[in-house]
Amino acid sequence: MGDWEWPLILFTVLGQIAIGIILMLWWLARNRNLNIQLFKRGVHVSGGLLLIALLASLFHLGHPEAAYRALAHLGSSWLSREILFFLLTFLAWIYLFRLSRQQTSSHTLGSGASIITTAETAAGGQPTSNLSLGLGITSLLGLLGIASSAMIYVLPRVPAWNNGGPVLFFLLTTGLLGALCTLVLGGNLLQTAQKKLLLQVSLGCTIFSLILSVIYGSMLSASMEGAASLNYHLSSPLFWVRALVSWLAPLLLLVIILKSPDLGKKNLILTVTLLVGLGEILGRALFYLSATGIQITALF
């Protein structure tokens, strides 16, 4: 069985939230109706989270001062590729940060609603395409980084990980927490249609995550080590807390929010986000704790 890998739990979950937020901003920017204040908030928060995630990852190393060497084996090591993509994501984020500094509230969309503005620069008249391109490139690099992160765990030695599970679960965390955090950051800056879209993404990711977990769990029993991982999950109180706070409660609360006429239940959205955040941290901890590797101990 594995250990509590706090640096890796923080790195993966926070990194995925950061990239999820940028991904959602990119999606909202498609129709040129991304609120400039939301863009700024999103970029600042995602940058902070990405920085904390990168710093946390250093504490996993026995020699953090030698972390630069982790780029030396791009040919076959997914860990090298992960570091490369996350560094490129951070560089792309710096470009977004520069754009956010240049943006001013210039163009009012709604009558009387001065807080709703398009993401255009006043001074230079820079088109939104720059912003959309920046968000798109950052999202793409981030998603490649997350896929590389997941591929590190696709190891023949660990049957519970040696499948598409890690990639799908990591991407689902990105979508789910990205959408929820964008909802929290957006608040009143989001239009009703945008809120609805983000809530639907959250609900879809939660349902998919639940279904996938059931299928994944049933697949694990195919091997002895996989069954040991499954038993660890099912016998751990952490797993049942995770099931409650990141599947059952969000399903219920998200449906209630979606059914409300104005989708404006701020406190409920914040509650769901905190519950899902806690659930994902517990889920990631269980991911590392339940890892059971094949130990070849006999002659065949």
Binding site: G62, L79, I152
Partner: protein, 181 residues
């Protein structure tokens, strides 16, 4: 790769005394770590019994997982097949520890780096045998050029999982005798 050196263990000769493991630990100043371990294996069926000892260390695989996953290029395979861990390049990320199905690389809490059997390559280069082989009382453990051995006389320590079999461990065992009950 020109050749592939590998351990060959005659399990019928091995007494399980642990001299090889202790010599490795002392010679390489590893305490409290052990790069070589002894395991007692018992296979009992209705009418026969097999009891033997397996002395295992790094298998210096033909296609090593540790070398594939290491992000800092801290593993290298020599032309004689020895898989080397280059401590000066290791960042202590534990990727190799997690990926090796044989549990060969171990994390050293004193150095915060991984380490594993290096097949005493420096001694080999000077014409001396590895510590473990020198210490073996019965000559059960030997180092051989694997191409010179008829494989049908040997067993390979390997896994039932095809993707792990692909690591091609370079360690062979002479099959254990069975005793009728």
């Amino acid at each position: 790769m020109v050749k592939q050196l590998g351990f060959v263990l005659d399990v019928n000769r091995c007494l399980g005394c642990g001299a090889c493991a202790k010599a490795c630990q002392n010679g390489n100043q590893l305490a409290p770590l052990l790069w070589r371990r002894i395991r007692r294996v018992e296979k009992i069926s209705k009418d026969q019994i097999q009891i033997f000892y397996l002395s295992t260390a790094c298998n210096h695989c033909g296609d090593p997982e540790c070398l594939r996953v290491c992000p800092s290029g801290a593993y290298a395979k020599r032309r004689d097949g020895i898989v080397l861990h280059l401590s000066e390049k290791c960042t202590g990320c534990k990727s190799c520890v997690a990926s090796c199905p044989f549990g060969a690389p171990q994390y050293n809490l004193q150095t915060n780096k991984a380490g594993k059997c290096q097949l005493c390559h420096e001694r080999l280069d000077q014409g001396m045998p590895p510590f473990c082989i020198q210490a073996c009382l019965t000559g059960a453990l030997k180092l051989k050029e694997l191409k010179d051995i008829a494989e049908n006389q040997l067993l390979r320590l390997t896994a039932p999982v095809p993707s792990l079999r692909l690591t091609r461990p370079s360690v062979f065992y002479k099959p254990p005798r069975t005793t009728k009950l």
